[in-house]
């Protein structure tokens, strides 16, 4: 698993653009000179993620931005089509970038996957949030299985 002080590993993520899935590398997303808050979760449209995790970041958008954050990104092992539809459903708009890691390339590179094959969900991401400055992880908040505390927008805000 990555730790504080590590560079975010290389991977390609995909968001939904006006003309279909649009690729973005981690080098672009976590570029030098940028402060980024990223949070990851087990799946789009799942109860905790839809009811709490994403709405928390959408409603805290102004406060987070006021701390000098350039980008807020939500990452899940879903494809860009699902992330696009979920973003609409959650009214993420331009506030939270909804990025799919459909092949789990990013999640595996971070060392933060979990195997939910027996639950019919394949390999997914653990729930976590991180603050990244100049491509380097400054804070990392990984939840214990099933928990939703440290990766919430309120807690991330305290560390910005």
């Amino acid at each position: 698993m990555v730790k504080v002080g590590d560079k975010v590993p290389h991977a390609t993520l995909r968001g939904m653009g006006p003309e279909g899935p649009k690729a973005i590398t981690t080098e672009e997303l976590f570029a030098s000179g940028k402060k980024v808050v990223a949070f990851a979760l087990p799946g789009a449209f799942t109860p905790t993620c839809s009811a709490k995790h994403v709405p928390g970041f959408v409603t805290s958008f102004d406060k987070i931005k006021a701390k000098g954050v350039d980008t807020i990104a939500c990452i899940s092992v879903n494809d860009a089509f699902v992330m696009g539809a979920w973003g609409k459903d959650q009214n993420a708009g331009d506030k939270v970038m909804m990025l799919g890691d459909g092949g789990a390339e990013f999640t595996n590179a971070m060392g933060l996957s979990m195997d939910l094959t027996k639950n019919g969900m394949g390999v997914r991401s653990q729930r976590y949030a991180m603050i990244v400055q100049d491509g380097v992880i400054k804070d990392l908040f990984v939840e214990k299985p099933g928990a939703f505390e440290v990766s919430a927008a309120e807690n991330v805000l305290k560390h910005l």
Binding site: T12, N78, G103, A104, G120, G122
Partner: protein, 119 residues
């Protein structure tokens, strides 16, 4: 999907008990998609989130490079008493996911080809 929804009465009229849609997505995504497509319970929306069914069918395709992981090929089948009925491959260039690289296969039973071909 809209093709099967629009033809649901005609398909049921041929004595079909269940129309099911299967995709390598989880049940949460399939449920949200059902709402979006207004399937209204007419089509059983089933997630094969770990690809177990698609792999057992031998009908997966690897879209990892496209950020989609291992997915199902596009196909349809008619199943009677648990057994597949008839096979007929046909290209469907109008299919919305035409970015998919895998071969397009339509598996049809003798009783239904006309109805299913309209899709």
């Amino acid at each position: 999907m809209p093709g099967f929804l629009a033809n649901i009465d005609a398909i049921k009229g041929k004595g079909v008990d269940t129309v099911a849609c299967i995709s390598v997505n989880d049940a949460f995504v399939m449920g949200a998609w059902a709402k979006d497509q207004k399937t209204d319970g007419k089509i059983l929306m089933l997630g094969d989130g770990s690809g177990e069914f698609s792999q057992a069918m031998g009908l997966t395709m690897d879209l990892t490079k496209n950020g989609l992981g291992v997915r199902s090929q596009r196909y349809a089948m008619v199943v009677q008493d648990g057994r597949l009925r008839g096979v007929d491959g046909r290209e469907r260039p109008e299919a919305p996911l035409r970015r998919c690289n895998g071969p397009t296969q339509l598996v049809l039973g003798p009783a239904l080809p006309r109805v299913l071909n309209r899709d």
